[in-house]
């Protein structure tokens, strides 16, 4: 029996003890993320696992559900970066290529988790060391050498040579063989280490021709360059001997500031300093500056797709100037919002396809059902509508609690991470009576979060964006906006819905608003009294167009479907996270890294519902 990630060696003596130790102390990295695991009903915290945020500290890779296509490369990278011995536990994951075969598999339920972990412990104890251990390779890990110019990062060639723009020798750089390399956007302005060494050199070469343009006087004073004379003598101001004007004394090169069109703001000759001296400010004149006027090198650091605290599947790449964000690039690797057009799909299949968006499946199922029912002209009784609305509200509570848990992970507020996660698991799948019973603990959690020390300091003023930007859902309502798809819903009005709004427009307001909404949703569910997951009624063979809009926990989602002979032939989906993705640049610009990440987290993005 051998782990796919076993260490080389015979399992004897001390190694046996160590293998036992490893099976007792499992540290797990969850793919795609603990939030997804919770939304599928898995209670990872209760099962004596240590959940870690970086693959380097993990011994087990727990895969929850099938790996999305866009995440396969990242999963291979994560697995490759785990130190051996490493194991894989696949819960309902099926084929997990490019990873090796899972060491333990189980269905995606809490019981499956328990049995899978037990099996995994046995496998680890028996197979952590093995005489045959093979390397793990994947296409995503291959290295390719490319050649780039230090001054012009957009110039990339496959062979060594010279830069076509400035003639410098291209330097080799490692990059991934698949996907895109490190810096590919020319406007990213990220600079590598070599840049600072080359900048003065190239500028010197640019200045090589500047001597000739200097004013040509015979003798001048080293301390007072404005004193010129045709013969040698003494300076009338300070009494020093006059020197030849072409810098023989090495000082006082006057006319340094009259170099044609090179600098618009000429530099005054600085006494006692060498000619051709350019201060750092001048050298770096045309290069991007930080907010305090200095120009330093920037690095580009990825913060996704499996970053703890950020939504899984979001590829966020920040250009960092020290610990300040100078630029950002965000996209989703798992976007499912582009619906297949043209091919006919059975309505049930269409609803399932939409509900396969992890994170708020019930809201999307309700959206699909509502749109198809609208197209088919079916209407529901009040009870059914209430039950459906209550199901969506229950999902809202679970989603906001999940956001609170992720927020807790992100800010190091570990009690919140644990408690909110546990309450989310309790709410998901609960009936109305249980939810009303949970109102007490949830209320206590909310009050404690809102009153936590340092919370206001952590969140106030972070995550503001311009008034003209489009936003939905809690992000919009937290800045006083009034968009809520539930305002037009008669069923919810009967249940006593009134839009909740906060002013502030920052992460604090968003957190408070989500807490308000949790309270409100509990109240709505209590009033509704019944709760049922949305079910698609039998549509029959009809044709028509329908539209619906549902307030998902992240904002209003709009769907239009076209039915032809009982099959869905066209659909268009607009989701809130797609609009919010565009806000990331605003939110993070010139922010400290921690603040930027909290701001991105406060948007409560779902990369699954973005366009990918």
């Amino acid at each position: 029996m051998m782990l796919s990630g076993a260490r080389q060696g015979a399992l004897s003596g001390i190694r046996r003890v160590i293998a036992t130790a490893m099976s007792r102390d499992l540290s797990a990295f969850v793919l795609p993320g603990p939030a997804i695991a919770r939304s599928r009903g898995l209670d990872l915290a209760g099962s004596n696992l240590i959940i870690v945020g970086t693959p380097r500290h993990a011994g087990v890779l727990i895969i929850v559900g099938p790996i999305a296509e866009g995440l396969q490369d990242a999963a291979a990278v994560v697995y490759a970066q785990m130190p051996r011995p490493r194991a894989i536990l696949a819960l309902g994951a099926g084929d997990i290529a490019p990873l090796p075969v899972a060491d333990a598999s189980a269905p995606l339920t809490q019981d499956g988790l328990r049995s899978g972990l037990a099996e995994l412990r046995r496998v680890v104890e028996a197979g952590a060391f093995h005489v045959d251990a093979a390397d793990f390779t994947a296409a995503a890990l291959e290295v390719r050498i490319e050649y780039t110019c230090p001054m012009h990062p957009e110039v990339i060639r496959d062979e060594p040579g010279d830069c076509p723009k400035c003639g410098m020798t291209l330097v080799p750089r490692e990059t991934s063989a698949v996907g895109h390399g490190g810096h590919e956007q020319a406007q990213n302005m990220a600079e590598t280490v070599d840049h600072s060494e080359h900048a003065p050199k190239s500028d010197d070469s640019c200045h090589a021709g500047h001597d000739e343009t200097a004013k040509d006087a015979a003798y001048t004073c080293p301390m007072h360059p404005e004193v010129v004379s045709d013969e040698p003598g003494k300076c009338p101001k300070c009494g020093m001997n006059l020197v030849k004007a072409d810098g023989e004394g090495g000082q006082g090169h006057e006319g340094h500031g009259t170099h044609g069109g090179h600098d618009e703001h000429s530099s005054e000759p600085v006494d006692g300093i060498e000619p051709h001296f350019m201060s750092m400010v001048e050298l770096t004149k045309d290069q991007p500056r930080s907010s305090d006027g200095l120009q330093m090198e920037w690095i580009e650091a990825p913060f996704g797709p499996f970053f703890p605290g950020l939504p899984a599947g979001l590829h966020l790449s920040l250009t960092l100037d020290g610990d300040t964000v100078a630029g950002s690039d965000a996209r989703s690797l798992v976007g499912m919002a582009d619906l297949p057009g043209g091919t006919a799909m059975a309505p049930g299949q269409f609803v399932d396809h939409l509900a396969a968006m992890q994170l708020s499946p019930i809201a999307y199922r309700a959206l699909a059902c509502a749109a198809i029912e609208d197209a088919a002209g079916i209407a529901f009784g009040a009870d059914d509508r209430r039950a459906r609305a209550a199901a969506i509200e229950r999902e809202r509570i679970a989603s906001h609690l999940s956001w609170l848990a992720e927020f807790g992970v992100q800010t190091g507020f570990l009690w919140l991470a644990g408690r909110a996660g546990a309450l989310q698991l309790a709410v998901q799948g609960a009936g109305t009576a249980e939810i009303v019973a949970l109102a007490g603990p949830i209320g206590r959690l909310i009050r404690r979060v809102q009153a936590a020390p340092l919370m206001r300091m952590r969140l106030r003023g972070i995550g503001r964006f311009g008034k003209d930007r489009v936003a939905w859902g809690p992000v919009d309502r937290a800045r006083g906006g009034g968009s809520d798809a539930r305002s037009d819903d008669a069923t919810l009005k009967e249940l006593g819905f009134g839009i909740r709004v906060r002013n502030g427009g920052d992460a604090l307001a968003r957190m408070m608003l989500r807490c308000d909404e949790i309270d409100q949703s509990i109240g709505l569910i209590a009033t509704a009294g019944t709760l049922a997951a949305p079910m698609l009624a039998d549509v029959g063979v009809v044709s028509g167009e329908g539209a619906a809009s549902i307030e998902t926990p992240r904002g209003a989602a709009r769907l239009t479907v076209t039915l032809t002979d009982g099959k869905v032939t066209g659909a268009e989906l607009e989701t809130p996270s797609t609009a919010h993705l565009a806000l990331i640049d605003d939110l993070t610009r010139q922010r400290e890294l921690g603040d930027a990440l909290v701001a991105v987290g406060s948007l409560d993005l779902s990369p699954w519902e973005m366009r990918g």
């Binding site: 080389q8 650091a301 300040t324």
Partner: protein, 120 residues
């Protein structure tokens, strides 16, 4: 016990720690060496391989604080011996150091007013 022998013990303790750590590493090495695989030695960055070097000039935003820290650190070096003889010396000691501290504190207030005490 003389001071020198005490420092000798401390020095011996440090050497002992080095020895302990080396023996731990030797133990770990006896279990096996790290296997070199593609992608494993790239610093872990949340699922994306980032091979670019990060040894660049870091733009520290706390430069103002750092300068004031230097001044105060020098002050603290003087305060240690002062604190030990303080009670003997009495009120004079308090006034002497009070003047020194007040001057430095004024420096702090000046820096504060000029915006040194903020994120640059």
């Amino acid at each position: 016990m003389s001071e020198l022998s005490q420092y000798a013990i401390l020095f011996g303790l440090s050497i002992g720690v080095f020895g302990f750590v080396i023996s731990l590493y030797a133990f770990a090495r006896a279990i096996g060496r790290a296997r070199a695989e593609p992608g494993k030695d790239v610093p872990a960055t949340a699922g994306t391989l980032s091979r670019d070097p990060v040894w660049v000039r870091y733009h520290a935003r706390y430069a103002g604080y750092a300068l004031l820290f230097l001044a105060f650190d020098m002050e603290m070096a003087f305060m240690y011996p002062w604190a030990v003889v303080y009670r003997e010396e009495g009120l004079i000691a308090l006034l002497d150091m009070g003047v020194f501290l007040a001057i430095l504190f004024l420096g702090l207030l000046y820096g504060w007013s000029q915006g040194a005490l903020r994120r640059q």
